[in-house]
């Protein structure tokens, strides 16, 4: 009871502090003639953003749309970065345990080098390392499949929806559903009778044949427009800007070094005796890895992996240094400067990063629950 009283008092005191701080801030903002409220959200932005995943125009888009553009750019680089860092991190982590001396040493060197150099320096290095040697648009390097590389970025053929899109997509989904159904049936049959029915192969054939057939009948699902030089720049393609490439490289190479260590620790945490016991039972090395090592290693890997994902997302705000238009750069940079609504904008930005981080943590925790040891 006494504990309850004390705790409510503490909550009350905290509430008072927050309330008085808010009032104080409001009063100070009024006194300094700083804009209050969120009226700026619907005002026309009046500036342009090079990389916008949704339509954005200086003359008609609002600060609210600029916020969305920044947010999407942040999510894009975070998602791509997490995927790349995870793949690279797992490969290097496993390579560090390789019996091949050179491979193991090289991986160790990678880890030590990338995790011990400040990320900001790495980003600036990659940005300049990408920009400096690349040629101007007129002297572009022409890559296979119509891709073009120059100091404005990597221009890829731009995909557009073609008439064949819907039938082919439908056939693909249908093929996958039927194929997976047949595969399941084949597995069940094998479990019950011990005889391979061959149904699984039919499923695979169906999954391939249906979309291919649709492609033949209705034509390709997408058509591509090739990047073309027009005046100063290439148009009609999809551009991966140097800022995005540099940020992605910097973030994923840096985070991969940490993930590699986590993966190595996870694998080493599985007791040697477990492997030996599995080997004694006659399991092949591949089966030992799949059935014994990985499930137990994941329990150790997932929680710190979550931390790395959160770090990568938050580190993406270093985009400011190399001019990548992420949320921090666009919203806390240009929008804040043009509207002067510093307090509101900083709070919104903090809230958004908090929400992204909490959501990432939630998803990872759900995965962790599945991987965790289930005691009976």
């Amino acid at each position: 009871m006494r504990g309850f009283a004390a705790q409510s008092l503490l909550v009350l005191a905290l509430g008072l502090v927050v309330a008085s701080a808010t009032l104080e801030a409001h009063e100070k903002m009024l006194a300094r003639h700083m804009p209050l409220g969120f009226g700026f959200w619907h005002q026309t932005a009046g500036f342009d953003i090079e990389q916008a995943l949704i339509p954005f125009a200086a003359s008609s888009s609002t600060y609210g749309t600029a916020f969305l553009v920044g947010l999407l750019n942040t999510l894009l680089v975070a998602a791509l970065g997490i995927a790349l860092a995870t793949i690279l991190g797992f490969v290097i982590g496993i390579a560090r345990l390789s019996r091949n001396f050179v491979v193991a040493r090289l991986s160790a060197a990678y880890v030590e080098m990338f995790r011990n150099i400040p990320l900001l320096l790495q980003l600036l290095f990659w940005y300049n390392a990408i920009l400096r040697p690349l040629p101007a648009p007129r002297q572009s390097l022409h890559l296979p499949l119509g891709a073009v590389l120059n100091n404005r970025g990597l221009m890829l053929p731009g995909p557009h929806v073609a008439p064949g899109a819907w039938p082919v997509a439908l056939a693909l989904v249908l093929g996958l559903v039927l194929g997976l159904g047949l595969l399941g049936a084949a597995r069940r049959a094998k479990r019950l009778t011990g005889v391979s029915s061959g149904l699984g192969w039919w499923g695979l054939a169906l999954a391939i044949a249906l979309p291919t057939g649709a492609f033949m009948v209705f034509g390709p699902p997408l058509h591509f427009t090739m990047p073309q030089l027009q005046g100063f720049n290439y148009v009609h393609g999809v551009s991966l800007y140097p800022e995005l490439i540099a940020l992605l490289l910097g973030l994923s190479l840096y985070t991969a070094a940490f993930i590699a260590e986590i993966v190595r620790a996870g694998i080493q945490s599985v007791a040697k005796g477990q492997r030996e016991a599995a080997a004694a039972l006659g399991l092949s090395p591949a089966l030992i890895l799949r059935l014994i090592v990985v499930p137990q290693a994941l329990r150790v890997i997932i929680p710190p992996l979550t931390n790395q994902y959160l770090n990568l997302t938050k580190n993406s705000t270093l985009a400011v240094a190399i001019g990548y238009p992420d949320l921090a750069q666009v919203f806390m940079g240009t929008v804040l400067n043009q509207t002067g609504a510093a307090v509101q904008i900083v709070f919104i930005t903090m809230g958004v990063y908090l929400a992204i981080s909490l959501f990432t943590a939630l998803a990872m925790n759900l995965w962790n629950q599945r991987a965790a040891l289930h005691e009976r």
């Binding site: 006494r2 504990g3 004390a6 008092l9 503490l10 005191a13 905290l14 008072l16 502090v17 008085s20 701080a21 104080e24 100070k28 006194a31 300094r32 003639h33 700083m34 804009p35 009046g46 500036f47 342009d48 953003i49 090079e50 200086a58 003359s59 300049n128 920009l131 400096r132 690349l134 101007a136 100091n151 404005r152 027009q230 005046g231 100063f232 720049n233 148009v235 140097p242 800022e243 400011v320 240094a321 190399i322 001019g323 238009p325 750069q329 940079g333 240009t334 804040l336 400067n337 043009q338 509207t339 002067g340 510093a342």
Partner: protein
């Protein structure tokens, strides 16, 4: 447990009370108490605000800060220069981190009405232009359709650029950074076809390039950029001091009072000069300063023309013409009200 709790509540209450106490003194008193003026300036823009390798600041905007410090303390060295990026500058002023901003900042209605700052005057009339590589063979900004353009974030340049291209039915790809050095590097590495900022800034940035002669500044001036110092709203006395420190320099040039002749000018019979130099009247005292405030500015910093020539004019690497910044009676628009 309860004891520790009550202690922490006490501490929290004390903190909020303390936070509530620290306000309501005038900027002049704050500056005098501190013994030094905190002035927001450029990070590195030759001619306007840039530190040398020994940390000595030079520039037109820097000297505007020094003039105010001299008016307050009689000593141009009592300034702490706070280098700011364009996107940080207003927050720094609003939050009280600096006492005044003198950082080639464009006077606009929205900044004054919506962002809580007051511009005290104009120390450089400018306009936005473009710089391109000579090898592009372009002679007009109207040929820039589809170009990638480097622009500084959080500046009026960003909006003017969008406006200009929209007005002329052209498109462009913006590449923005929050600091001037990153922009000039990106332009130099070929990331952009053109660099845009105020014309004076272009002249200044061009000096940072490997071979300045390989780059030209296009003739179009696409905006009005009256650059000047600003202060927070709500302190009229401080506004007066910052405003008249600049006006005194301009009036001094008009009256022919220079750093070299200011002592002999003390004996001048011209009433306007007598008022300016504090020989007659209480013009300094009405602002909370001493009456020799303007004398000190001219003696220790110089008149507007001298400051201009030294930092951006013929006496500097920039070699900018006076142009619009010539005095009103010599073909320009630089004009300051009289003291009386």
């Amino acid at each position: 447990m309860t004891r520790r709790l009550s202690l922490s509540i006490l501490a929290l209450t004390a903190m909020t009370t303390l936070a509530g106490v620290a306000h309501a003194t005038s900027t002049l008193d704050t500056v005098k108490q501190r013994g030094v003026l905190q002035c927001g300036v450029e990070t590195s823009l030759p001619g306007f605000g840039i530190p040398d390798d020994k940390g000595n600041w030079t520039g037109l905007d820097v000297d505007t800060c020094r003039a105010v410090a001299t008016a307050v303390f009689g000593d141009p060295t009592k300034v702490k220069f706070v280098p700011l990026t364009p996107k940080d500058r207003f927050t720094a002023l609003q939050s009280g981190e600096i006492d005044m901003l003198s950082r080639d900042t464009t006077w606009t209605q929205s900044r004054q009405s919506a962002q809580g700052l007051l511009f005290t005057g104009v120390n450089y009339y400018d306009g936005q232009g473009f710089m391109v590589r000579k090898s592009l063979g372009i002679t007009s900004a109207l040929k820039l359709n589809g170009a990638s353009i480097c622009v500084q974030q959080g500046s009026t340049s960003e909006q003017n650029l969008a406006d200009y291209f929209q007005t002329h039915h052209m498109t462009f790809k913006p590449v923005n950074f929050d600091n001037a050095d990153a922009i000039i590097k990106a332009y130099d590495s070929g990331r952009c076809d053109a660099l845009t900022t105020d014309a004076s800034g272009l002249a200044s940035e061009r000096l940072k390039l490997g071979n300045p002669a390989d780059h030209i500044i296009l003739p179009e001036i696409i905006s009005k950029e009256p650059l000047g110092p600003s202060v927070r709203k709500g302190d009229d006395q401080w506004f007066d001091i910052v405003q008249w420190s600049l006006f005194a320099m301009i009036d001094a040039e008009e009256l022919g009072v220079t750093q070299a002749n200011v002592d002999t000018m003390m004996k001048s019979t011209n009433p306007a000069i007598k008022r300016l130099l504090g020989v007659q009247g209480d013009y300094g005292k009405t602002m909370g300063l001493t009456n020799d405030w303007a004398y000190n500015i001219i003696k220790k910093v110089g008149n507007y023309g001298e400051v201009f020539e030294r930092n951006v004019g013929e006496g500097s690497p920039l070699k900018l013409k006076r142009g619009l910044n010539q005095l009103w009676n010599k073909g320009g628009i630089m004009y300051a009200p009289p003291l009386d």
